[in-house]
Structure formats: C-alpha cells, structure tokens
Symmetry: C2
Subunit: 446 residues, 2 copies
C-alpha cells in the first residue's frame, strides 16, 4: 500500500515515521517543497539569538536518515501542485522544474501554514522577512550577519513577534513593533497584558499598537515602514502577522474546508475524501471546551495528529479528543501562558462567563526570591464549568498551566478544580497554589 505525505515537518514526518515503524511493508513517500524536513520551527527565535550556532542544530533528523535508516522515501524540493482524488494521484514540479506524479492509496496533507503577508507595496523588498520555514530562519540569520543590522521593525505582536523581539534584543539590535489593532495581546486579560507590555517596554522596545502599515519603502540602504502618522526606519523588517492554513491544494481538489479556511477533518483526521487525511497547521480540530471546530495551529497537536493518521492508515481506528489551546511563551523574563477560552470567546460560544484576576506569589510567604504571579480564571455561571485560565509571571507559569488544561479535558467545574490537591513546598509556591486562590476567588463571584 502506498502512503503519500505532502509536507515534511512535524505532522508529516511524525506520520511517516510511525506508519513505517508500525507497517514496514508500507511504501511511505514524503513530498517536501523546501530542502528541510523535521526541524524545530519553534526553536528558530532562540537559534537566531545565538549567532555562533548553526540553524541546522534545529534539525531533529536529516532527510538522509529518514531514507537510509527508516526506509522512508523523502523527496525534498518537491512542490505538490495538484491532487486528483478520483485517480488518487498527486502531481507537481521539483525545484529544477521537472514534473512529477505520485499515486497513493492513502494521502496525508501536512501542508502546514503560510505566514500572512499583506498585499501592500514594499512587502517584497529585500530585507523584509517572514519566519516560518527553516530557510526563513537561515535567511534572517544571514541577513543580520551580512548587513550589520542595527534596527528591526516587527510587524505584528503575537508569540513569534515577541519571541523574535527578545532574540533581536539579545543581539543588541534595536526593535520597534507595530500592529493595526489597538490592544496589546488582546487574548490576555488587560491586567496581565499590561504586565507583559511593561516587561517588553523595559527592554527598550518601541511598541506602536493601533497603526496599520500602509507600505514599506526602500530608502538608501535602509527600509522605511510607513503607517498613517508614523514612519519607522529599519535595516530589516520582520512580518509576523500570523498564519493562514495551507489549504489551497485541498480546496482545489474539492475537499471540505472548515474554520479559517482550514482543511476540515473528523476526529480520525480524515477529510471529506475517504482516502485523504490532513494533520498539522493546515487542518482544523475540535475544541474540548466548546466541542466546536477551531483552528489553533501548535506543534504538539501537529505531532499528535501525525501519529493518529499513521495509526489509522495502519488499520487501527484512532480518534483524537481535541485541543484546549494550551500555549506558553517566554517574553524576556516573563512566562506567559493560556488555556481554554477567553471571556470574549466564551461569550461567543454561548457561555455565561464570569472571571477573576488575582495576583499572588510564586513562592511561599517569607521564602526568598518570590515573584508575583498573575492568574486570570474564567468560569461559566450557568454550568459552573471552568472555561479558561491565563497566567503571567517570572517563574512557575509554564508548567502550572497544564493543571487547568487537564481540568478542561475532564470538563471540571471551577468548584471541583478548587478542590484539587496541588503540590506545595516553600521554594515552589504558596500553600494555596495561585491557581487555587484564583479558583476560590472565582467561586465567590459565580
């Protein structure tokens, strides 16, 4: 049986490896348009912050190893351009322009996401970058090195923008960030977002929220980012405005699409075609809180979905629970995490949200080195259910968020969550964990 995979990053290579391991007779072929497979995309900002380190350090396994050790036919530089779902064929062109065609019994679309780049003048100028593929990372590292970059403008203030901001500041590069929306981190409660904002500002970053970029101009050897009433000079521009799902191929083949033009899949990752699966940033997922389809493209889901596709292709019926939207990122010395719904998302999903923000400490009363931790917790007044949690602090945030993540999977009420037995020792938290204090406060309001 022929198992063909389009896309050789997290979802694609997870599926390829697992399928070949489970069913050694399976013919597994991966078509990857870039020259790289199986790398840690999320590690790129940290790699860029370390000029002495090769970007290749992020490669988890080389294409060659997949071929030689695992018997997976990995084709890099193979751009899939069309799917024929009736005859089960994928056609395309290689990097040197040669046409190819592959037949499949089962196909996996692991086409990932594409950075959003507005159709405005100057976004194609040299020195204007996005950060998605390993090649993007390579180009950025080379550009910084070659062009003596002193100042960067980042368009966008999401995870990647902020991680890159930190990376560039670590290189002593000046950074200005700009975005059209007026609110910094709108998915965080205001008091938590303010803490992150202050942290970013304290690292001498200029933040310009509420400015739509109109164009980028080249001026002498530099760039100028022009917004209404604002002009920002830069040696380099990073466009970090978010992703769109890579669903063009699927759409052209007539597959059903879901939220945000993702490829719609069921709990077994099957698309509307019984022979075609989709996994990773290109596909939608069920949200465990709402039970509805959502699109939150993150690495764990991509890996997990890749495995589930492999299991299904190998004849085991596997369904995935769904996602909680658990996410964490580092913003300079702060850990910022979220899980579940925001108040706005909860309202949109038909809940009756009540929320509370508490500020407690990362360690016990009187323990040295204690830092503030802020917790924002959201519950449903009608059902009592826990709906979401956000946290910001200098320590103790990144892994704490997993407790409410599990609680959301279990559809716990705030009341039951408030009764959970969370660990305590003076170096690691107060007797009442910040999450329990938040739950206790929220219960009073609900």
């Amino acid at each position: 049986m022929k198992f063909l995979i389009i896309g050789g990053d997290a979802a694609g290579m997870s599926a390829a490896s697992r399928a070949k391991r489970r069913s050694p007779d399976l013919e597994v072929t991966v078509l990857e348009k870039t020259g790289d497979v199986s790398y840690s995309a999320c590690g790129m900002p940290y790699n860029i912050a370390a000029p002495g380190k090769e970007i290749e350090a992020l490669v988890v396994r080389q294409a060659r190893v997949f071929r030689e050790k695992q018997g997976i036919d990995v084709k890099t530089g193979y751009f899939a351009r069309a799917i024929d779902p009736v005859d089960r064929l994928v056609s395309g062109t290689t990097a040197d322009g040669t046409a190819f065609e592959y037949a499949y019994d089962r196909l996996l679309l692991a086409t990932g996401g594409t950075p959003l780049v507005p159709d405005l003048p100057g976004f194609d100028l040299p020195g204007v970058h996005v950060l998605k593929s390993l090649d993007d990372g390579r180009r950025i590292k080379a550009f910084i090195k070659t062009n003596n970059v002193k100042k960067v403008v980042i368009i966008g203030m999401g995870y990647i923008g902020l991680e890159m901001c930190e990376a560039l500041r670590a290189l002593s590069i000046e950074v200005a960030m700009v975005k059209p929306g007026p609110v910094f981190l709108p998915w965080l409660a205001k008091e938590l977002a303010d803490t992150v904002r202050e942290e970013v500002l304290s690292h001498d970053v200029d933040l310009h929220a509420g400015h739509s970029v109109e164009k980028i101009e080249a001026s002498e050897s530099r760039l100028k980012v022009l917004c209404r009433g604002l002009a920002l000079d830069a040696d380099m521009v990073l466009v970090a405005m978010g992703l769109k799902p890579g669903s063009e191929l699927a759409q052209a083949a007539g597959l059903r699409t879901g939220v945000n033009e993702t490829i719609a899949v069921n709990r077994s990752l099957l698309t509307s075609d019984a022979n075609i699966y989709a996994a990773g940033d290109c596909a939608d997922a069920y949200h465990i809180v709402t039970g509805e389809k959502t699109w939150i493209p993150l690495a764990l889901r991509a890996n997990r979905a890749g495995w589930a596709v492999a299991d299904n292709v190998c004849g085991e019926k596997v369904e995935l629970d769904g996602i909680a939207g658990t996410a964490v990122f580092k913003a300079f010395d702060l850990e910022v995490a979220r899980v579940g719904l925001t108040v706005t998302e909860a309202e949109q999903a038909g809940f009756h949200p009540e929320s509370v923000s508490v500020k407690t400490r990362s360690r016990a009363h009187a323990h040295p080195g204690s830092k503030p931790i802020q917790v924002h917790m959201i519950g449903d007044k009608k059902s009592g259910r826990l709906l979401g949690v956000q946290m910001v602090g200098r320590e103790g945030v990144a892994h704490r968020i997993n407790a409410p993540a599990v609680a959301l999977h279990a559809r716990m009420t705030v009341s039951r969550f408030s009764q959970t037995d969370l660990a305590y020792a003076p170096p690691f938290g107060p007797t009442w964990d910040p999450l329990l204090t938040a739950a206790n406060q929220l219960l009073k309001k609900m």
Copy 2:
C-alpha cells in the same frame, strides 16, 4: 454560638479566621499550647539556612492581630488536656499551671502531629532536636549559633530530613544521615531515588541507610549516635523519623480513630461526635485514587480542611473530595515530586499496576540549558486508570506534577491523559511533554 478550636496552626487558624469572617457573631476561641500561632512550618529549614533571618519571619499573622483585628480569642500557652463530649467542655492547664475550662457548641481538634521519637537512651539529651513547632526551629537556630555546630547527624531520610540536610550544608555544616530501612526514598521508583541519592552524596553528605539507631550518648561536649556496627559523632542530632497524629485527646474522649491512629472524620470533617470536627495532621482523609481512608499530613489539606470546618460550623454543608497525596520537595538542586499511588500501594489497594520510567529533557531539542527529567508513571492494567506519577529533575518538576494530580481527581485513564493538550515552548519543555512521553510509553505496556 461558641466555636472552640484546639490547635493554632494551619488548620486551626484557617478555621478560626474563616468562621469569624463568615459569622461575626460566633464566639471563636483558639487554645494553642505553644506560644506561636499561624506560622509556615514548612519554611523552617529555609529559615534555619539563613542565620541572619529571624524565625519570626515565618509567622503569617501574630496572635495579637487575630485578637485585635479579627476578634478571635487566641489563647497561647493553653494546653488542652481533656474533652468532655457530653457536657461539651474542654479542660486543661496554662503554661503557668493554672487550670482552665471552656464550654463549646462546636469543637475543632486541630492538634496536628507529633514527631516520632523512639523510646531509646539518649534521645532526650541536650543537642538532640526535632523540628515541628516554631519553638523547635527557634531552639535549633539558637543551638547552632551558640554551640559552634560543625557536624549534625540526621536520623531519618524523609522530606524534612533532606530539607534540613540541605539547610545545614548551606551553613557549611557536615551532615550524616542514618535510618533503619535499607532503601533510600522507598516511595520513589529506584531509578529516580538513585538520582536523588547521587545528588545528596554529591553535596558531601554521608548516607547510612539500613542502620537502626540503638542509643545516643554524650561524649565530652559532643554527641555520639550509636547503631549496630556504626558510630557517628555529632555536635547536634536531628530526629526526623516522621510524625504521628496528635489524637490522644480525641482517643481519651472516645472518638473513633482511623488509619495510623488518626482521628477518623467524614467528608465534612466531622468526627464520630456530631459536635466535634477534626482537621489537619491529626485527622484522616479519603484518598481520591483508592476511595479509602489514608493519612498523608500536608499543609494544603490542613488549610483546606480548616476552611471546610468553618463553612460547616457556619451552616453551609461542605464536603471535601479527598487527597491525591501530591507532594514536592527540593533536594539541593533537584525537584522531587509525587502524586497518587506507588506500585506497592497500588498492589495493596487491589489494582493491577503497570509502570514505566522514562528519562527525557526539561527543554526542547537543541534548546540551551536543557536538563534530564525522569518520570515514573503507574497505571492499572485492568481499568486503564492512571494511578500515580513520580518525577525528579533539576527544573520543571514542581509544577508539572499538578497535571497528573488533576487527572487523578478526574479518574482519568492513562489513555485519556496521554491525549491532554499540555503547553509547549522550547524554553520550557520538549514538544511532547515528559508526562506525555511517559503516558505514551506506559500505554504500550498496558
């Protein structure tokens, strides 16, 4: 209504504060045998490690503040000696020997635990200490300061022994630890316990497991701890062999006792007498995994149970879920955590345990500063349920343990836990969290 409380630490003062806040007309009286109320007992090792810091820094709220600001009649130096449950009277003597008697409508026994001290020669010598009350901490600090302590023998190798070992080493005091059982940290899987053992040894601590202490002798101005075939010199001895519940008063009053001679309470913390509650280290609890009674005396439960008693005394019917035995402690640069059952405990409870130990990393592939994390996970082959988790590592352990704690409260299977959406970012973990890797591996064996 008169609400009388015996014991002024975590459970007692939590109950007193909450009851008085909820029902300002309630007459709340606390009888505390020592001179201290409401202090962080768990913080004592860290305070002892800091000679410049007063032990009073651990007092959360002074008795005076409870009296003057909260209207709670706190009596320190009041030793309750008998309960008359028929006439609802508590009698005893004050520090200066005066007899007292208090009537109650509702009584809370928050009598805590007492350090286990064997009935052997020399355990009452000057320089032989236990660490439970703030006075114990005070005495130890003073003894170290006054006696130019260069070497300490700790009898026992549990949490408190190890925390004190770290504290003493921070003061450059030589430490030897001795205990009768042959296995270091028997509640940890061997491969995890070995890591902790090596960490302790690497800090120049002598460990003598498998040696029963026979007596302590005074020799010149020093002490000698004598075991069969082993003699250890010391300037000071710390007896850290565990606790026994402070249930003598309750037993003498004819109240029902539970496991380990604890005071037996129902989910509302009521004893076998309808007017007497018990909370904190003196009382038993339901274990959320087995559903059976257990005794795991820890601070969060004491505080929570104190609150629940207050709510019940104030007329709201409150029941507690039970405990998962979630615990964390620091052993030099290691974080050590556990939740739920060990394999042995699981067998004893009638489960069919399967377990796995994995060693993964605390940060992403290629991320600098990554450290090993060991996870031991236990599941029930028959029901598929998650039963327990243990973790050891230099970072990322203390709060990670809360995710399986919540899963145990939700009675999740290992399979469902393996599907939970846990946070990922390169500085904080691999894409597959160490807990998920453990769950995936355990599933293969189950």
